[in-house]
Symmetry: C2
């Protein structure tokens, strides 16, 4: 278990989130990567209900979110950038080979810019349209964009276990994006994508990260 209060790496996580968000806050990606390579980290809890909008936290993370990574003189936000940073520490996360490394980073960006935004649009319409009579029609109108991307991703993955020859931060973040799909059936209709998520989340490092995130939440908002 790599949680160690004396560790050189600090991961910032939320002190409290609503039940439905537990296990899905994005410090999961860092905890998971660190568990994959057995690298110890300490946790700093911030915020309460609604994130952390303190000026101290906004100086580290302009959008008031988590995670932030601190390591020596480096303070870094954006889970994708932190995964690249951690990947450079260990080839089990990011291959050393020049071509394989670039392509694995390509999949990190694909997850965060070519897949997640289309799922998130559906979520924004759901949240923004709560209680509105147009909500269902608007969701029907943006859903095809998400369906198209997931179909293209399924075709790209094909029968392989991972997006490239072996597991990398590209698979880690893609699986994390897919498991959070606001409508799980969008992924489930593609058996290879569903199996990919199963395979990724069955990894001992994912399970350890999940247990660690859940254990850190307080039962009531501060």
């Amino acid at each position: 278990m790599p949680i160690d209060p004396a560790a050189a790496i600090e991961v910032t996580a939320y002190r409290w989130v609503p039940e439905m968000a537990r296990g899905f806050v994005k410090d999961m990606r860092l905890r998971w990567a660190l568990e994959e390579i057995g690298l110890p980290y300490r946790v700093r809890l911030v915020g309460g209900a609604g994130g952390d909008k303190s000026s101290e936290h906004l100086a580290d993370q302009p959008f008031g979110q988590v995670p932030v990574l601190r390591e020596g003189d480096l303070t870094l936000f954006e889970s994708g950038a932190i995964l690249v940073h951690l990947g450079d520490k260990d080839e089990r996360l990011l291959p050393r080979d020049r071509v394989a490394r670039a392509r694995a980073i390509g999949w990190v960006f694909a997850a965060l810019n070519s897949v997640e935004p289309f799922l998130q649009s559906l979520l924004l319409v759901r949240f923004g349209g709560t209680g509105q009579d147009w909500q269902a029609r608007a969701m029907d109108a943006v859903r095809p964009y998400a369906e198209k991307r997931l179909g293209q991703l399924a075709a790209a993955l094909g029968p392989r276990d991972w997006l490239a020859d072996r597991f990398s931060i590209g698979d880690l973040v893609m699986a994390d994006v897919l498991r959070a799909a606001p409508e799980p059936e969008l992924v489930a209709v593609h058996p290879n994508l569903a199996a990919f998520v199963e395979r990724a989340t069955a990894r001992p490092a994912f399970r350890a990260a999940m247990a660690a995130q859940l254990a850190d939440f307080e039962s009531e908002p501060a």
Copy 2:
């Protein structure tokens, strides 16, 4: 002018797009970066109206889009990943210093995962809701998410010229995201963001990249 048919680096661009998309296709980001460092590239044109869904192109770019970069044995997609790859060639794009490098890559991810998706949601609702009576109400409901992110970005930029101490691929892609905002007033209400976009797009490298992209389009779809 770094366009050279014998160059080692190949950038894939569209042969044709509608008038309104000209100057905004994402090979701009690569052309701009390459112009910044005077690195020659050749262009390979693909597709016609509606992108390129050929199996050859999908093997390089699973979402049927551009750009793709080819360089020796590397074929890479996702403009963010390609910018990191190009950044590692020249410190004018990406600092060598470990901390500054990680933070510049952080801004690339911030542009592509914390800002662009919120602008894009507005665009998806606009496109998906064309001709529908709920379109305006749905756009009103998702617009606040974009407004919030841009306000946070404006606060993070503050009075500085660039997101970090000096221009990097983080500024390049952030400026490219902001100039494509589906409602320009979302950016214009923040004078420092508007000035940031002006500053970035006044760079000779941006202007050269723009001229090169525009010159490559054919007048009619294939």
